[in-house]
Symmetry: D2
Subunit: 387 residues, 4 copies
């Protein structure tokens, strides 16, 4: 089966996530990069396109020009990947959706709920496929956690604890010219939230994915520790979930000594699961009566869907790119459609509604911190078929 053709917007000099998307999209040979608007600086875009071996006429300095030119071709891109700073997600995604091109967009989806809802409506009203790269949902052992919660083995969920610690913004890295730090701490480009928008949104989505619960109320304490920084770099949030579950969500980028420590703990009436990104191939499953079990990626006793997310035997470490690639695998299957292999596709990818819920959560957490107390955070985005 020939690889799908895709284009990329963003991912120019100093970006790291663009390369991750490319390695992930292409890992299984299902997609090939053929076009790009890598930077708003045409020369930087051209250099990147050349380094990637693209045909010069498919390297653009502007995403609008790219959308227009690509849809006019006989061999157009089959989808576009949006890996720009956050504030551009919306205009770029809308442009391609309106041009009929499926979109894979990085998180958070938009910088306002209003924009998010615009995208929801575009998709709900017959628009092309839209996928959001909440990539942590692509890890097989996250799928296993989800399968276990759904099986009822944990009983009713009571407590969800989410921690996401990084240390790389413990100093004013943005004032040194560091591009990533620059836009991620800039409200004009990052949106209303700093640490919460950059990493907390992953934690929020991860819990939703695994438990199927939604946030009902939040009480947040957002702090900016680094002098001169314009967005919070540390967030502590009390969360009340549907069905009576409670817990905390913390997201910090000033936690010196932490790399990228995302931990999910879900406790039910009968059992619990703990998943740590630093040991992403293991899942601890505990019940009240027996010893903890350490489930491992690739093992034959896992749920059959979980097994479908593995590429290597257990003990041959898979990592970030493979998890990311599982999101792409689902996207590529969905774009090819059910006829491709004669059956329904069952792989999941985060949707535009997941994205909208994420943006709404950020706004409510920020509001809670501003008012200094609990706020109602219930929400159903327009057109969500699952709501």
């Amino acid at each position: 089966m020939p690889a799908l053709r895709y284009g990329m917007v963003g991912g120019g000099p100093g970006a790291f996530i663009g390369d991750v998307h490319r390695m992930a999209a292409e890992l299984d040979g299902g997609a090939a990069l053929v076009a790009g608007a890598f930077s708003s600086d045409p020369s930087a875009s051209r250099d990147k396109g050349a380094a990637l071996g693209l045909a010069p006429d498919r390297v653009y300095g502007d995403y609008r020009a790219m959308a227009e030119a690509e849809v006019a071709r006989s061999d157009p891109i089959d989808f576009v990947v949006v890996v720009t700073p956050n504030h551009l997600h919306f205009p770029v995604a809308r442009t391609f959706l309106e041009a009929g091109v499926p979109v894979v967009c990085d998180k958070p989806m938009t910088t306002t709920v209003e924009d998010a809802e615009t995208l929801c409506r575009l998709v709900a009203e017959g628009g092309p496929l839209f996928a959001l790269t909440y990539n942590y949902t692509g890890y097989p052992m996250v799928d296993e956690a989800r399968a276990i919660v759904r099986s009822g083995r944990l009983g009713r969920i009571r407590r969800i604890q989410l921690d996401y610690f990084q240390g790389w913004l413990a100093t004013s890295l943005e004032s040194t010219g560091h591009r990533q730090a620059g836009w991620r701490t800039d409200p004009e480009r990052a949106g209303v939230a700093g640490a919460l928008g950059d990493i907390g949104t992953h934690a929020h989505d991860l819990a939703r994915y695994v438990t199927g619960l939604e946030v009902e109320e939040v009480a947040a304490d957002l702090t900016t520790f680094v002098d001169g920084r314009r967005l919070e770099d540390d967030a502590c949030v009390l969360v009340r979930w549907t069905g009576g579950a409670r817990g905390t969500l913390t997201a910090s980028q000033i936690a010196v000594g932490e790399e990228n420590e995302l931990v999910l703990r879900v406790y039910g009436t009968h059992g619990s699961i703990v998943w740590r990104h630093a040991d992403a191939e293991s899942l601890r499953v505990s019940t009240a009566d027996g010893p903890a079990e350490i489930l491992r990626r690739g093992a034959p006793y896992l749920d059959v869907e979980t097994q479908g997310g593995s590429r290597l035997p257990p003990g041959h470490p898979e990592g970030f790119i493979e998890g990311f690639a599982n999101v792409y695998r689902a996207v590529i299957e969905a774009i090819r459609g059910p006829d491709a292999d004669g059956g329904e596709t069952t792989r999941r990818f985060p949707t535009v509604w997941d994205g909208a819920r994420g943006v709404h959560f950020l706004e409510k957490a920020v509001e809670s911190a501003r008012v200094g107390g609990w706020v109602d955070a219930r929400y159903d985005p327009p057109g969500d078929p699952g709501a």
Copy 2:
């Protein structure tokens, strides 16, 4: 040097902490149990005394009788250990303090701030020694964490995360006749808080001990998950500390699959420490620039005070009893006084003021949960020489 004589109030049938105190107090041969009022049931007290080989005339069915009889002896007890349910800590401790007998009391110190302050005044106004067994401060690697914070190696403290998870109260154990569960979930005997009073108070004191910071504001969400239970079994607290540090404190006793998982994370401007009770002999120390270090109990590179808390070479596991015994070692040295070894004693034990701060924290967290928002939690107990 002859062992000190001590008595015990509480620790009768079904208690486990009484035996822990006894093993800890006697581990180094510095104290010997000679008297006790182990239960308010005289026959149960007698049986326990006999099992412990005590002289029958020093086994009492009532702590008041014990205090009176012991101080009248020519060989009275040198101190008393109070290991009753919480509501008796205050009357028992006051009785012995007023009788001039040093007191070692389990936590939380009292069930009201008013009672706590009465004890503070008794001690401040010339009363005998009073020690509270916040035993986690007795672990050598907790002392090392404290030494590192004080050395300035972490810089200014920004973030403190405290998690204390247990799963043993995930079902209504109290309705099965389980004695520990019975009184710990009963507001008449446990006090205003459940999980927070039973374990959260340890976390609170641990952070104070290590960082030297105090709580300024709290916003708590307290939940009772088990039907019919009368105190919260799960607590999530946002905490603002002196000096601008922020963080969460969680305490849960319905976290199925967790044994007794107390974790302290302290992040400063320059570095961080992480200490997990499940791996109590290790301390992770990280700085921004180099690899994480795993410091180990018993190692020669530790702070000299930390080394004083070890009994065995590294790699020969010490545990709960040894940590507890370090609190007793400090108490015994302090009772013996500076003349015993010709020098000032330097070992620390938690004081009546630590106890009062703990009780005040509980009250403020409960108040915050009731009002649904932030409350001012600043506090200096009467007579605190450190305030």
Copy 3:
């Protein structure tokens, strides 16, 4: 029930294991030290006795005098603990056994097989109780490993890997006046083996205890890395066990960076167990078909005998002293006899025959290293009721 009276031979200045024995023997209140010959230097012995609060007339400068005096008393010691350097184990133990005093002796039991067999015969021919402190067999999770092997859950044992790493003798510590290093590297006092005798013998006994298998053949490579040292400080041994099991046993005291890392791995046809001393309260149990389980000390799902070896709930770390104390608990119960609690005692302690097998293993490993190949290591000590 009154505590048994015991005496100690050895454990003077610079020793650490004497204190361990004392804390372990007394942890449960079942024994009280009343006599000692702590050093062959009478003044050092006297000082130690005074520090321990012993009556001066029960502190001896010579173990023979002690044996003679103690058995003549109306309140003699109920047992003696031998914690001297290895070469004195035999004469001291024989003296007390011949005087009718039960003996608890540290390992390795003797420095020659001939001496070991003399002790075996003394015990077999109606002598008093003799226990050897292969203390690693006192850890509850080692008992659990043994119970699992016996249950057949692992199937037939195929592979046993034993690793024991320490780093403290990586330099010529013995030439600095360090007492422990001094005698442990001196063939006159330590016996025929260095690292293998000091720690390898623990590994050998641990595997025997857990699996019930015996060594059949060995091929050893013994190396002395530190210049001027007179005994090997590193041992690598190929071992063939009864029933066809194979594996390695390594013991090194020059493994810089290792504290006291004893690891047991047992693989059967159907499953495996892994136990690490550094995480002594956990036991990994794996089978071919399901996830690994992490069994934990103190948990209700453990074998009932394992549970009997716990003092604290799970999550309240126990360690080296508690494991050691379990050996003493068994000894004390056995000395008291079945009438004490109206039933048969079931706790196990290592016997004189375990000790003899240990000494024989050392001799065979040394012989193998000398001849440079495999040697037959089968052995049944005289009088072994289990052989």
Copy 4:
């Protein structure tokens, strides 16, 4: 820079390693698969080629036909990847080398030393590039271990312990029709060694790579535990290394419960390193005087060459494919030559001489097991520029 074109021999149905090679070779976009002889069954080869989207005229049923056809093209393959069962490595590699095509070959290189030496001579005498995928040397933290040893920080190496445990061959999987198990346990296709050839050879090369030492003598115990199996499934080897270092190498494929546990421990006079494949992104570095350090992949404090092997920031797990891809990156750079980026290439890949040393080690271990004792294992393959 355009991607290199490569072909593959082997990697047909039931193989997993072919896909690994493909993902690894293409991860950075430096190579594209254009041709293949995936199976000796032409129809299976065709199906695989079609699934991979290859042009039908470049899919072959025979590697000789492939070599002949490819070198005759105007757009020939730039290198070939050999991922057949072991016995075909030699004829395939020789065919392509003689045709002037660079070869990347899986391990063990050949089934006899004689064949290995033939390949050595072909390369030494002006043949094209030959690389062996001892892929564990591609892990960044293995490179860091190597850099640390070379820096002298560990002092002189004394002890090397190598353990490689798998459990997948604990039963007679080969008799169930499992293709991998089939050829790996068949001496006609696997060669003289089973577990030792399949995984032990990785451990041997890993130690050589990290320490720079070579094997001098071996004493091996090889066991076949599974009835009817024709090659050993468990190997325990005593190893003496150049410079006086000693240690063990174990390789087992009947270790139920183990996935793919490769552990390297290197102890020197001053420090040690421990690397576990299950936690491949960490490296424990210990010295005699300070705490253990946990070095992490991607960190800025690592050796500059180590850093060059990372694709993602620390905390974003990389795994097996990335390590493998580092071997390919070095190969691709070397094929492109120094002009490609105007500088010398410095990345390393395992050579034909590494391969020959691996094969020789296997033969000597097997010989040792047969004679039942030590054998001299010193060896320099013909033409080795480093010998």
